[in-house]
């Protein structure tokens, strides 16, 4: 049985020791702030979906520590290839609420410029982004760039052929990739025991990936483990793999009903392991944050929520003919004709 790396217990107890040497009040406050803002953003998006402002939302609630702890351990120059529930990580990269919501409001298929944030657009076909991350990393390696690539995916995605091809490829090519798996226990209604027969970390190690298993609700352990893995990848030690054990507190999406397949007791258990609560306990116990910090943060979150609502409602549907844009570098006569015919047809209706 592999050891699960943990620094911060559910009771808010920090295990001091060499691994915790880089942890201080400032880091904890910063990570706490990221997680609180991410959760508020996520809650707000959920409400907007329920109000009919978004077509669909996939909540990140419960996975804040896995995402914030990992992305904050990277350099801004490192590239990230996310899946589709990685809103907390996206916010840490500075992606704006409107950019994050556009896709889910149905006004475009993606909202942000990946090059600006070094954060690729979401990939909805599971694990398809893993080989992209490997290819991008091989390119960075060819360029002699001091960059690594991290890719997020879930434990369900790990069953896809492309995930396993990517693990093998990265190991074979010694690509500077960090595979970050958020094992949130459920792939819609499929639990981990129905997803794989051998533990995921064991399979990853079998591919030749340097592997760690971490308590994904412990933002400090995630941060330390990711820093450690990133350092090794950067030093040319080959690709790394982190399995962060966490929990999808909400349904798969706003269309899902998790009460059909999982128990209240299980949910209650994971609620007691909440990543925000435990870091707050540490901040309070150590006196690393005072009331003023929490009050100010609450006000910041409230302001963010307001901004999210405004930004969402301001996202208008694009011109219909814009669907003909960006199919190929140049449309060519056939597509141009199709567009022109549609525009003429649409324009033929009287208001």
């Amino acid at each position: 049985m592999v050891e699960i790396f943990q620094l911060l217990g559910p009771d808010g107890d920090l295990r001091d020791g060499p691994s915790a040497s880089a942890i201080d009040a400032e880091l904890c406050r910063a990570l706490f702030r990221d997680m609180v803002l991410a959760r508020r953003f996520d809650d707000e998006a959920y409400y907007l979906q329920r109000q009919g402002e978004l077509g669909l939302w996939l909540q990140s609630r419960g996975q804040e520590a896995a995402q914030v702890g990992s992305i904050r351990a990277l350099r801004d120059t490192d590239w990230v290839f996310p899946s589709y529930r990685d809103h907390a990580a996206a916010l840490c990269r500075g992606i704006e609420p409107a950019e994050l919501l556009a896709q889910w409001r149905g006004v475009s298929q993606s909202g942000w410029d990946p090059a600006r944030y070094r954060f690729h657009i979401y990939t909805l076909v599971l694990a398809a982004q893993l080989p992209h991350a490997v290819g991008y990393a091989i390119g960075a390696q060819h360029d002699g760039a001091d960059e690594l690539v991290m890719t997020y995916f879930g434990e369900g995605s790990s069953s896809e052929g492309e995930a396993n091809e990517a693990f093998n490829w990265a190991a074979t090519m010694a690509a500077p990739v960090l595979f970050f798996c958020q094992n949130n226990q459920w792939a819609i209604s499929t639990p981990t025991q129905a997803q794989f027969g051998a533990p995921l970390h064991q399979r990853a190690a079998g591919f030749g990936l340097s592997t760690q298993v971490v308590d994904g609700n412990d933002v400090l352990a995630v941060h330390v483990a990711t820093s450690r893995a990133a350092e090794a990848v950067r030093c040319g030690e080959g690709p790394a793999f982190i399995e962060a054990l966490t929990y999808r507190i909400a349904g798969h999406s706003t269309s899902d009903d998790p009460t059909r397949y999982r128990s209240d007791a299980e949910l209650d258990h994971w609620q007691t392991l909440d990543p925000l609560d435990r870091l707050r306990r540490l901040l309070e116990a150590r006196g690393w944050a005072d009331d003023g910090f929490f009050t100010h943060l609450e006000a910041e979150a409230t302001a963010l929520a307001e901004r999210v609502r405004g930004a969402c409602r301001a996202l208008a549907a694009p011109e219909a003919a814009s669907m003909f844009d960006h199919v190929l570098a140049e449309p060519g006569p056939a597509l141009a004709a199709e567009r022109a015919a549609y525009v003429e047809y649409a324009g033929s209706f009287l208001d």
Partner: protein
């Protein structure tokens, strides 16, 4: 004179020489030079970093090529045989084809995927398929097929330089056929990437074809000539987009058209061509547009493939039917 295989090899070489971002990748493309030797000698001259022997995983080949392209590289992937492209189907259709549109033009993926396709070499199953219609049905891809050394060389160079993803179909039964290749990109024989080529002029019937069937149609035209019928042969070259103007101009003049391809006619690209001709040439047509192609069966065993593949007689039979309609 070069064989089609040599002409493509020289096209790859030119790409690697001209642009340091060009890479060649695929199964056995390096040391071996590919199972058809199309990449022969390239790894020796350009190094294992640029001519990459990959793990045996087609989704991985295309998926990593997409990542490399995002990083600014121009990968040219080889899929070893037509029937092996399906494991990469998700990466090609959901990822490669849609990246530009999904990202509103912010992410482009100039990847070329070379696929030796169609039959005629007595191969085992999954090694003789004509699966171009799967890809022409996906917006965001360019799909081309080279029938001659001239087009094998120049279409490939244009595909490598193109900012769109290109699926590049090579008729494997023609790999060893020889032909001239012009030296200069400005030569009038070098047509644009998306242009059809009229390879034989004629007045009575237009044969519209591509890939392995271009040669078959040319032989049919020669045979028909002896019987007093003048056939025009148009090689589509670009299967998506289709150079409709060239096709339409020819059929309006001849008034009769037969589409010939190796893929099954049901759901094949010939149906699209026939529909376009119906829309644009209706009043010029003396007969319905006929199709000659593979049957709606899985590609048969080697000893039956000559019954499955359109040959000179089946093409001439269709010509007779449009002439005597």
């Amino acid at each position: 004179m070069f064989t089609l295989s040599e002409a493509i090899n020289r096209g790859l070489r030119a790409g690697l020489e001209t642009d340091p971002k060009v890479m060649v990748m695929g199964e056995d493309v390096g040391r071996l030079g590919g199972v058809f030797r199309v990449t022969d000698g390239l790894q020796k001259d350009f190094g294992a970093d640029r001519v990459v022997d990959t793990p045996l995983a087609e989704a991985g080949i295309v998926g990593t090529a997409i990542g490399l392209a995002m990083r600014g590289y121009r990968p040219v992937c080889e899929i070893q045989f037509d029937g092996f492209v399906y494991p990469a189907f998700n990466q090609i259709t959901s990822q490669l084809a849609k990246l530009r549109a999904r990202s509103r033009g912010r992410v482009t993926a100039p990847v070329v995927i070379r696929v030796p396709f169609s039959g005629g070499i007595g191969a085992v199953e999954h090694h003789s398929e004509s699966n171009e219609a799967y890809f022409t049905h996906t917006a965001g891809l360019r799909v081309v097929s080279a029938a001659t050394p001239q087009d094998g060389h120049w279409l490939l160079r244009q595909a490598i330089a193109c900012d769109d993803p290109v699926i590049f179909f090579e008729p494997k039964c023609r790999y060893w056929s020889k032909g001239d290749v012009t030296e200069s990109p400005d030569d009038p024989l070098v047509l644009p990437l998306d242009a059809a080529r009229t390879v034989r002029r004629g007045d009575d019937v237009t044969l519209l074809t591509w890939g392995s069937m271009v040669e078959t149609c040319l032989r049919a035209a020669t045979a028909a000539q002896a019987e007093g019928h003048s056939l025009e042969v148009v090689d589509l070259r670009s299967l998506s987009p289709i150079d409709t103007d060239t096709l339409v101009a020819s059929v309006r003049r001849t008034g009769r058209a037969v589409v010939v391809h190796e893929a099954p006619t049901f759901g094949g690209l010939g149906g699209e061509v026939a529909a376009a001709l119906g829309e644009h040439c209706f009043t010029s047509l003396e007969a319905p547009v006929m199709r000659v192609g593979g049957f709606n069966v899985p590609y048969p065993a080697a000893h039956l493939e000559e019954h499955y593949r359109p040959d000179l007689d089946r093409v001439l039979d269709a010509v007779d039917r449009v002439l005597h309609y």
